[in-house]
Subunit: 366 residues, 4 copies
């Protein structure tokens, strides 16, 4: 499978950071779903670098959809999106090509691809590849919204600054969809941005934690072994560059409580069976229970930094030092939010199509 | 796929907690690998409840292998292991059948299976199903050991008590393989067991964090999108009941540091390229880098407790209270260690067979 | 995947001809479907050798279902069936162990498994493995029948004797379900049986062609690339030992006609759009069109025969002759009919669950 | 999976007949394999319509590879090929849009996609989609050739005219690689072309049978259940539009012989164990036996013909007649030969990478 993910709804990614074009194919989505190019544009903008917070590489992401859409609706055939790489400066990378960047994929890639890999700008490993993923994610998010399923992600922590926790999910998710810097507490967001700029000034980088909430998922989706909702979502989320941890509900903190403290009591309500608390994050036994799904992903600091680091020259096999040139991000957490939304939405579409059939998302099932 | 996991080496699980037999099928392992029944017995013992720390249900796990082995070696055909359920007391569950246990799969399962599911002892959701997984894991662990790959798991935290961190991995992993209660620091282990007994006395339960280390993995295994080593391992690990988080290397803590603090500097050594630190946990860009893989999983407190809890009667739809009867564990963290070892080992065999072909583990490749 | 087949509904096979037990796991079937042990017994009887037409090995196929069924209905969890091997005589095989039977899997298996394979009675390659497949197929056939989908297979040709073609499919399929020797024309069936007995008397074997018809499949199931209904069914059917060809509709004969002769004209009927003829066998562009699916499989003569054949001793590498001992079938065509029905039914359940969701077969979908 | 095929080496197809671009992604090929654009061009030319034998639509197939290749070699990352559609005339199709072409996918597609499908030129069902498959197949064929594996396909029968059977495979395969019309016997090829022209003149179409031979495959590749070499190849081959049958070795004819006539006797030779005959077509028990693989596929006459046919107007539900306009092929058998070569080569790469690991094809394995 490798660069394809999904069972009923599948995504295939291709491209390199400095290649002519990157792209992705979305297969298995119901026919008849709206494809709103403006929505894709808005999602790509959320991911795009801007201002001093991000790399100086400025891509317009002038995507085009070459298949699978007719009269603004999915046909049911594979939908391919292509995005040209416009603003590439490969020369920056030639200079440091033999020097494996610490904590970057350079050395591991060399071991896997024997030196045939494209090293320019991270090649196939580049975060640039998340652009087509975000484009397809926009279609998935719109489809889910039609069935009353909403997805939103904020920066829970960044460089030691904590955002306020999720409150009313409906209004929080709505607010996030318009927010260029996804903090629920504007003041916290300001301080986070200061930290990014400070790291940049120091030739360094910072990481953070993204928290995602999903409302409206029907109960009864997922499998006990092995395709748990947690497992399938985590599988997708760990593909996002720099993610080193994924947790659901209370996550690692749940291990500190006693059962009586972290169990979610069931209650009969006018809207059906609900739990009073949501320590489980909407999933029990691998299956959705009708409560909001809540998850967090840990994003490490960007490994490529201007500060001098120790490394090895892979051509000579000798020790060396590296102070990275090239344009790079002092932080990718705020940009990765759009990628988390996309990966989550595409995975949910896959789970839902597997559970309810290929037409359910469009409401055209028999 | 559902109850089957893996691409090149696959595991299929079946059975229910109170059914006649449970079992699993291992497919795709190289022919010619040793199958040591004593090794399987030892691994099953690690997982088996004992003493006052665990449920009073006492299963002898008298497994039998009905296919795929001849003269003590794998044939290359599917290897099926069967384990009878001997000590079942379904009556305990009949009484509380309609009452959805908080944070257990009962309600989610009802939504998925419409009431046709087997509720006795957790049915197909039961941790009992991990016994055949552990049996197959023993074969995978022995196969990996022949290629110099070692796997070991300790309790990093339990009910607020921390074990010492991993030190010399080779001796720590060796020590863990003989340890009935997997703490590296014996005194910490004693205090953890006291906490489990205290929770039990209170009719409550506790959780914890397991940490697993893997040494000897070759560099260059895994895929950038989407079959990252992190993603594939997490997919398998989230299938273990009660797991709510998975992290690699520094995991969520890495988000707090700056790039200059958490990047792993490369160094030329007599053994090849190595990193000075291992914040990345042996994986960069989804691919092994030759350093030890380190991961942690969060295990929630057992949801079934004797203390009274609020819930809903799924037959009547009315609120109710539940004080669980039946035999249950006040903590499953120490038992789950054997399951983590098994899930990790089976997943690594899958990744290695995909990378190097079906014969590599047995050293018979062309 | 190897010994597992299917995407939404999966079958995993395990066991060897002379092992203690053989079995199979069925995963992904809707919860709430009836499991009728009498129906399984009847299907196993169709496959079982009897009289002088078949091997003298007489297995009672005393199957047991160890999971996935409660109160006579599927639970939705994996359903495992186990069948003991009772009447094994491995000594017959020891004598000829080193002699690769012509056109049997012995030599290819040796190249793949390096001699670790179980050679007794064909080991994992044995037609014996089709017994659990037939058992699971019975459940699938009953499930399809509830949705108005019927499957039946007759011997189209055997040793040069032709059966009459399918006529009224409903009555023909009904007649086949009770027929011990599946010929639509009883006289043709008699002559076929004479041919089998003649081949047996000559120490030889015969083959034939099975033709399968499926009525009631909804239109719109299948994929254009690559999971065509033809491709997915053929993938399953070629797993049946001795199958060397699969064709749909007019199959190879369609290549002889002109488009104007073999195109199926569409007509508006009170029952919707139907075609006047069915040269396409119910499938266009890989997708069902609502007409009956018709397919044929070529079954070669049993390779193990008593007549002396030339071969190679795999231990010494020298030429040798072989006159097979052991009990073997002079023809497996009539027995394979039950296997074709099973493989087709299980594959259709997979395609339908993928198309309409996991609950559709049981009629419990939202 | 749907539009993706393969386990270790995967192909994903996208595009429509009259869309802006069509394309395909090849994933999992070993890094370091040569990518020869001239070779791709030559293979595309084999598939391209020319002269009066084919449709008047003339595509230049100006492909571009946008990822996965660097310095003329595969990088190991997904290789995406794009081909613009230049010569489209959608207006021809607008006229007959509501009229389901007999034996074409129009009606089945309507049932599946509810009218959202793109009908222009067959949309996603069009044989046009085989162009990117042929482009990727060229890379696979070149890779196989480096390991001594050759693939070649000729027209075994066309409109009643038979080609001579395969003789010396090495020289026959070589001859076919240069042959614009793939008949081994030039005179037979002439008569076949006359038949095509006659059908065209009559507003009709003809079909045929393609026969493919593969030399040099190592023994021991494939699985007994369910991923037999026959099953996996057939799964891929049935995706080629118009294929209605696939057989291996003697195929359907083998059913007519006795075991003593069609068994392949093994002989010790200086080149190892070989069989005297090859009725089995190089595969026993689903696994290659080291002999050449021989298979045949039945290709039906092109369903779109100029002669008047009966059909139904899908908009009005009423009976109608249709005399197809638009440019179409009176025969696609000779063009499909390049597609068979491609599908076979890509599938073999998948099987080999699964068996021997991801590097084997490039000879860089450990």
């Amino acid at each position: 499978m490798k660069n394809t993910f999904g069972t009923s709804v599948c995504v295939t990614l291709f491209g390199e950071s400095h290649g002519a074009e990157i792209g992705a194919v979305l297969d298995g989505m119901a026919p008849g779903l709206p494809v709103d190019e403006e929505s894709i544009r808005r999602r790509l903008a959320m991911r795009r670098p801007h201002g001093a917070l991000s790399t100086a590489r400025r891509e317009q992401d002038e995507f085009r959809i070459v298949s699978g859409v007719r009269d603004g609706k999915t046909t049911g055939a594979p939908l391919a999106v292509l995005i040209p790489n416009a603003d590439t400066r490969s020369a920056d990378y030639d200079a440091m090509r033999a020097l494996a960047r610490p904590s970057h994929a350079d050395y591991a890639a060399r071991c896997k691809y024997h030196g045939f890999e494209d090293p320019r700008g991270g090649g196939h490993f580049s975060g640039r590849l998340t652009a087509p993923l975000v484009a397809l994610g926009a279609i998935a998010l719109d489809a889910l919204a039609l069935r009353g399923i909403q997805v939103g992600t904020h920066i829970s922590r960044l460089a030691g600054i904590a955002d306020r926790p999720f409150g009313d999910l409906q209004s929080d998710i709505e607010a996030l969809s318009d927010s260029p810097f996804p903090a629920l507490d504007a003041a916290a967001g300001e301080r986070m941005q200061e930290q990014i700029l400070a790291a940049r000034a120091a030739g360094d980088s910072v990481g953070g934690v993204l928290e995602c909430a999903i409302t409206g998922m029907p109960a009864g989706v997922g499998e006990p072994w092995f395709d748990t909702v947690e497992g399938v979502l985590a599988h997708a989320l760990f593909a996002i560059p720099a993610v080193k941890g994924v947790e659901f509900g209370d996550g690692f903190a749940i291990a500190e409580g006693r059962g009586s403290e972290v169990n979610d009591a069931w209650r009969a309500t006018p809207d059906g069976v609900k739990s009073k608390t949501n320590h489980s994050g909407g999933i029990n036994g691998g299956i959705t229970n009708g409560m909001p799904i809540v998850l967090r992903v840990a994003v490490k600091p960007t490994p490529t930094i201007a500060l001098e680091q120790q490394t090895v020259n892979l051509e000579t096999g000798e020790n060396a030092t590296l102070a990275a040139r090239g344009r790079h991000d002092p932080c990718i957490v705020h940009r990765a939010r759009a990628v988390v939304d996309a990966a989550v939405a595409l995975t949910l579409c896959d789970l839902l199509a597997g559970r309810y059939g290929t037409d359910w998302l469009a409401g055209t099932q028999a």
